[in-house]
């Protein structure tokens, strides 16, 4: 594999990372923390993202904000969002409540990030 230049998205520090080497032995440079190392490895092989968004709540105007409990494959972001938009949450919802478990078989749950009465 060629040398890849990446910008770390794990935190706002946005470290500039380089990944080199081949599949079995990838080397990461430029990271300031272990999370950066982890990110670079995953980004080089299979990019993963946290999904955040909103969904409807039955009978309530205000949308519910949600997130996945862990990163899901980047290529599944749009499909996962479509799945979320197909359902409506039922009030009351508390922040942290699981709305959809194991979305698209990723092992990540979709949880509420705010409470709606």
């Amino acid at each position: 594999m060629e040398k890849q230049e990446l910008i770390c998205i794990m935190c706002p520090r946005s470290c500039r990372l380089t990944v080199s080497g081949s599949d079995g032995s990838l080397a990461v440079e430029g990271n300031m923390c272990p999370r950066g190392h982890e990110y670079a490895l995953s980004e080089a092989v299979h990019p993963m993202r946290i999904l955040t968004g909103i969904m409807r709540v039955e009978g309530i105007k205000e949308p519910l904000s949600i997130k996945t409990t862990k990163m899901i494959p980047k290529e599944l972001l749009l499909r996962a969002m479509d799945e979320i938009h197909k359902v409506k949450a039922k009030a009351p919802v508390k922040a942290g409540d699981i709305i959809i478990s194991d979305i698209l078989g990723t092992g990540a749950d979709v949880v509420a990030t705010k409470s709606i009465k």
């Binding site: 909103i54 969904m55 409807r56 949308p63 969002m81 479509d82 979320i84 938009h85 197909k86």
Partner: protein, 509 residues
């Protein structure tokens, strides 16, 4: 059948309607736009020109000075704020001096008070004017008001006194009874001289007053062979935030110069507004589309460049040495209805009895509008031998403006209506009480722009970024609308496109 149909609900049409409402007449106003004050009056600066500059003998000269005087009276009757702050035209060179002397001569002929004051005597009137200024023409009768407030108040007062209004009603054709064959004429109600067509209706009337502004040529040419043509002249204005406004006590205007970009103007002016911001402008460029609001960078740059250069000689320079470009909060523009006759087109064409023009109403038509309205209304009143009503109510009370209240008034207002403590527009400090009133009033606001023009909500430095979502919500509550139905200014100008989380499903369906 109506006695009179007034076409157009801008300042001229509304003033005509209000004058007609003093008499026992069945009057209808047809407005093409979604709201009162949708055309040229919406892009007006609100300057109450005194009438010192129109060429003597023209209609502009005939109506401007009387209109100016009537405007102050109207503002008092209709509870519209104004400042009779005078107009100061300044000259910096010999050709400017020549121009001042010409304007002074015009003023005398037009019966307008005006005085040339040389430097340094002018410092008594304008203490901080730069020494580059050779002299000023001081015109004490000049002033500023809010063109929207005047027009809304006139229309509202006409409405309360019995005039009917139909909005979203563009006139698509006019039939003249005297040009119909006998068969067609039998379809006309007794005494009807015209049938006015809109997309939904055919409405018969005895007389028509054409106050259609930018479309006054189109309306005239439907009826009369004495054709004229409107050449829309686009002008842009730049608005500065209110920080310096207390330092600007009069409208300042340099004697007209040829603009480098070409075009026509009364001269670059900086004017206080009754809302507390300042207006700079404007230029005038001929355009094709009378409805355009599209401003271009060269025209705005011309205004900015002019003020950058002229700034040091203006009294404001004492407070703020350089032109405060970062205080620009808005740019707006619109077209003025310049007629190819180079004058207002007023009165009945010889070949169309019963059809009265009040067209070609470019500046100073706003200041002239009370006099034009009175004049054209009285052509109808006399012809129809209408009697005065006993119960005409000339007064209208506006909603008290929170921003300009004293502390005690604020306290009192909130105790009577807690909505006065809910500030919706933080930049212009407009309260929920004022916004709800603007919607509930006769001929009230039905759109976000309608609320803005009536209350100033959204006119300030954030340009509605913070308050428009709340304004949408209040419009929904008051008018029973779904948020998706709320528009910026009628037609297809919806603020919102779709409910969240619905677009994908919509596309699949």
């Amino acid at each position: 059948m109506y006695d009179v149909i007034v076409i157009g609900a801008g300042s001229v049409g509304s003033s005509t309607a209000r004058e007609l409402s003093k008499y026992k007449l069945k009057t209808l106003v047809l407005e093409r736009g979604h709201d009162i004050c949708s055309g040229a009056s919406k892009a007006n600066t609100g300057m109450i020109h005194a009438g010192y500059d129109p060429l003597p003998g023209t209609n502009e000269a005939k109506f401007n000075a009387p209109g100016n005087r009537l405007m102050y009276k109207l503002c008092d009757e209709l509870d519209v704020p104004y400042q009779k702050s005078g107009t100061t035209i300044f000259a910096t060179d010999d050709s400017g001096m020549e121009e001042l002397r010409k304007l002074k001569r015009f003023a005398v002929e037009n019966n307008v008070e005006a005085e040339i004051i040389p430097y340094p005597d002018l410092l008594e009137k304008q203490p901080d004017m730069g020494s580059e200024v050779k002299a000023i023409l001081w015109v004490p009768e000049g002033g500023v008001t809010n063109p929207f407030s005047v027009t809304f108040a006139l229309a509202e007062n006409a409405y309360v006194n019995g005039v009917e209004f139909r909005l979203d009603s563009e006139v698509t054709g006019i039939d003249r009874a005297d040009r119909m064959d006998s068969g067609q004429r039998s379809a006309f109600p007794d005494g009807a001289n015209f049938v006015v067509h809109t997309k939904d209706d055919a409405i018969a009337c005895r007389m028509i007053v054409n106050c259609a502004g930018l479309y006054s040529d189109v309306i005239n040419n439907m009826v009369s062979d004495e054709e004229f043509k409107i050449i829309p002249r686009f002008g842009a204005h730049v608005i500065l935030d209110r920080k310096l406004s207390s330092k600007l006590t009069t409208t300042l205007m340099e004697t007209p110069h040829d603009l480098p970009g070409g075009g026509h103007t009364k001269g670059m002016a900086i004017a206080p507004s009754v809302g507390g911001t300042m207006l700079l402008g404007c230029d005038a460029t001929e355009v094709k589309d009378p409805d355009t609001t599209e401003w271009t960078m060269p025209s705005v740059q011309q205004i900015i460049d002019y003020f950058k250069k002229a700034w040091p000689i203006l009294p404001l320079a004492k407070e703020c040495p350089e032109f405060p470009e970062d205080q620009i909060i808005a740019v707006f523009g619109g077209c003025r209805p310049h007629a190819d006759t180079n004058d207002f087109v007023i009165g009945e064409p010889d070949d169309a009895p019963g059809f009265v023009n009040a067209g070609g109403t470019e500046s100073p038509a706003f200041a002239s509008s009370p006099a034009i309205g009175e004049y054209v209304a009285h052509i109808c009143i006399d012809r129809l031998a209408a009697e005065k009503k006993d119960d005409f109510n000339p007064y209208r009370k506006g909603k008290k403006i929170f921003r300009t209240m004293t502390d005690d008034e604020k306290q009192q207002a909130i105790s009577e209506d807690p909505d006065y403590a809910r500030i919706v527009c933080r930049c212009e400090m407009v309260t929920e009480a004022e916004i709800r009133d603007a919607i509930r009033r006769p001929l009230g606001a039905r759109s976000v722009a309608g609320v803005k023009l009536r209350t100033r909500a959204g006119m300030g430095r954030c340009q509605g970024g913070f308050c428009s979502p709340r304004v949408v919500e209040i419009l929904c509550e008051e008018l029973g609308l779904n948020p998706l139905e709320v528009t910026q200014c009628g037609g297809n100008s919806q603020i919102l496109a779709a409910p969240a989380c619905s677009l994908k499903a919509e596309k699949e369906a």
